[in-house]
């Protein structure tokens, strides 16, 4: 997404605060993957991957990879005590049944109603939705991590998405390099502004209105 390492890490670190003890979690590829590095040791969670593992652990040491133990992105993983292997229908059964407490995803656009577009980029070859529709539509909490604007400086948080939707009204929280914004029934609500920006900066970089009454920092 063209962010510096420290910005990516800051976003991942902030996202980790959304993770509570006992949660079942699915992390998307990219920055969401980094979130696992910032979960405090006393917070016990189970990571879910849609190919068919509940209880993913950290990456294996180099040379200790097992080609038959990978996440949905094909990257080697380990498992923690209490992990289980199952077929992919059960992995998506957990998802559709609403048992994922949180999913953390990237996005191209998010609308003020929480519509999510993270699938099709116009002009690019369509790569298929994979598990994105299932996850966005069914996780109890959907957190989007992204740059506040695209590489041309255009807002990615908009009144109406221009790209085809992955799912309607699904996003609960948006964490960007500039701010943390909640999607509520009453519209967007600015919760936090990154130290090097002002509320006005965030307003200019956002393509939709938001409430600031709940600003916490």
């Amino acid at each position: 997404m063209g962010m510096g390492v420290s910005v990516r890490e800051a976003i991942a670190k902030r996202a980790a605060e959304e993770i509570k003890d006992g949660m079942i979690i699915n992390l998307g590829i990219g920055i969401p993957t980094l979130v696992a590095n910032y979960i405090p040791a006393d917070v016990n969670v189970m990571f879910h991957t849609e190919n068919g593992v509940l209880g993913m652990g950290p990456a294996p040491l180099k040379g200790e990879e097992d080609a038959n133990l990978c996440n949905a992105g094909g990257i080697p993983i380990t498992v923690v005590p209490g992990a289980s292997y199952f077929d992919s229908t059960l992995a998506f059964g957990i998802t559709r049944r609403g048992l994922l407490d949180i999913t953390i995803l990237g996005a191209f656009e998010v609308s003020e109603k929480g519509d999510l577009a993270n699938w099709i980029v116009p002009g690019k070859i369509v790569s298929g939705m994979g598990g994105a529709v299932d996850l966005a539509q069914k996780a109890k909490k959907v957190v989007v991590l992204m740059n506040h604007t695209d590489k041309h400086g255009n807002p990615k948080i908009v009144r109406e998405c221009t790209l085809p939707l992955t799912a309607e009204k699904c996003v609960d929280l948006i964490i960007t390099d500039m701010a943390v914004i909640e999607v509520t029934e009453q519209g967007l609500s600015l919760l936090e502004v990154e130290a090097s920006y002002t509320v006005e900066d965030v307003m200019k970089a956002t393509g939709a209105e938001f409430h600031v009454a709940d600003l916490v920092k």
Partner: protein, 225 residues
């Protein structure tokens, strides 16, 4: 009920134009020995059904890269640029399903259901061209079952009756694909006599498996290597 055959005998059932369903997810759990033999056999115009298009030189991805598939039913092709390129050039017809829906369609075919109802994608692009039904005031898509002339899967162990167990996350779509083939060929790392597998640990009962072949092991370098 002895189902162990040579790879050569097994792949004779796969012909140009066959529908071929392949177990695995991102290359992991694709059957390497059968895929190699299929490539060498020269068949083409296949209808491939698989979770994804793999990677260009890994697993099922090679069948696409070598131009042997005319049609692909999958949830994702992002890791194999050749799939997108051929689609763009009208050399490959692709039908996408959300991943959770795709695997349920394969399962539905495998267990003889007429389809499933799901609200995944009911208000978006996924719904295009699909029939909707309203049950208890809620709209659902009718998603049709998937079967294939031949299913090929990768197992950790098979016994001579075709009972299968899988290996860690390489289980993924394999038990589903194993049920959905008119003929199912299982490639196993190890083949054991009937009675050696614990009845509790068997994931796929031999009733679903027609042919068992011995794996020669993975013949590709993994994407992460």
């Amino acid at each position: 009920m002895k189902k162990v055959r040579s790879v050569e005998e097994a792949i004779r059932y796969i012909k140009s134009g066959s529908s071929l369903m392949v177990g695995g997810f991102g290359g992991i759990g694709n059957p390497p020995t059968l895929i190699k033999a299929i490539l060498e056999s020269g068949v083409d115009e296949l209808t491939l059904i698989c979770n994804d298009a793999g990677f260009p030189h890994i697993g099922v991805g090679q069948i696409i890269t070598e131009g042997r598939a005319a049609r692909l039913i999958a949830s994702h092709i992002g890791s194999n640029p050749n799939a997108g390129k051929f689609m763009h050039e009208d050399k490959l017809d692709i039908e996408f399903s959300p991943q959770g829906t795709l695997v349920e369609r394969i399962r539905a075919g495998g267990v003889g259901l007429g389809g499933i109802l799901t609200d995944i994608g009911v208000n978006g692009l996924v719904a295009e061209g699909k029939e909707k039904v309203v049950v208890d005031g809620k709209a659902f898509l009718i998603e049709t079952p998937l079967t294939a002339d031949i299913s090929i899967v990768y197992a950790k162990k098979a016994d001579e009756f075709g009972n299968l167990i899988f290996d860690k996350s390489a289980r993924n779509t394999n038990p589903l694909v194993a049920m959905a083939g008119t003929i199912t060929i299982a490639e196993a790392e190890e083949i054991v006599p009937v009675g050696e597998l614990n009845p509790e640990e068997i994931v796929t009962p031999g009733a679903f498996v027609d042919i068992v072949v011995k794996s020669e092991g993975v013949n590709w370098a993994w994407a992460w290597e």
